[in-house]
Amino acid sequence: MKLLDLFRRKKKSGQYIAAQRLRLVLTHDRANISPGMLEVLKDEIIAVISKHLDIDTENVVVNLTEDNRRTRLVADIPILTNRARKAEARSKKGPPGKT
């Protein structure tokens, strides 16, 4: 019964959707930044960082996180090192170990 409940809750119950929407709305309200503005911010961060570093622009993640009413802006920006470039090139060729 408990397991079933857990499963149901995960599966887009009204309660789950409400909680997720509420979480997002509160985070943006508290930080006073709209989701659209966050996208603009992300693009500008990418532009600024790119001037100085070679970054993987496809995989930049900029998000607001919440912890006990404290909001922080977290940016995860992968830097392209030589090793990363090689790995990327390899993965484009095909799965590793099948050369």
Binding site: S13, A18, L22
Partner: protein
Amino acid sequence: MAGKIITISSGKGGVGKTTATANLGLSLAILGQRVTCIDADIGLRNLDVMLGLENRIVYDIINFIEGRCRFRQALVRDKRFPELYMMAAAQTRDKNSITVEDMSKVAREAAEISDFVLIDSPAGIEHGFRYAVAPADLVLIVTNPEVTAVRDADRVIGLLEAEELAPAQLILNRYKPELVRRNEMLDPDTVIDLLAIDLIGIVPEDDKVFGAGNQGRPVALDEHSRAGKAFRNIGRRLTGEDVPFEALRKQTFIQRLFGSR
């Protein structure tokens, strides 16, 4: 010693501020406390009707502020509890007829003769809300388990924190255990977690609240009302009594509700 000033607020309208004020006033009176309830919703008064005192109003809060009557004259004494008083809002004026200082003066004067002063705040976050929370020692935030109501409650909590006003506690009103059980309504733990605020009570949805409004006899007076019991528990918590939360933990609550029958 001056009594404690408590403002009941919510941001969103229609979540049960006035119902909560009336019921907490009676709950505290039942416990033998001296209580003064002040309707701060100038222009849209309703606390009088909730308490069943609408026919006994002679003067209102604006009459007192403008010096047309003495403080005691502006108070309506409850028939059921001689130490429960209500001060009515003016119906034909608007919220700009009152300043933050006016409300603080009224609240302080009420605190002189009461153990608890309950201020029923208007909805919104404008001037009416600001004068209502200004004199408070504690703000009780009423919300419903709905995205819109919780969002507005969060705004109010944020404003109270930003301006370093009184501490806030949460009343989760119109909670439906059955809907929560079916995962169709936000559960209390999620709401408390998201708002990061202390809980003082969960009031279940109860059809008797509707009839109570019709009759001017709040459910706190009804032995058999579940909402009435929840309000009486909040009253006891306000007096410092440690009353356990029945409905806080979802599993145990459900077990208690459906398992034990």
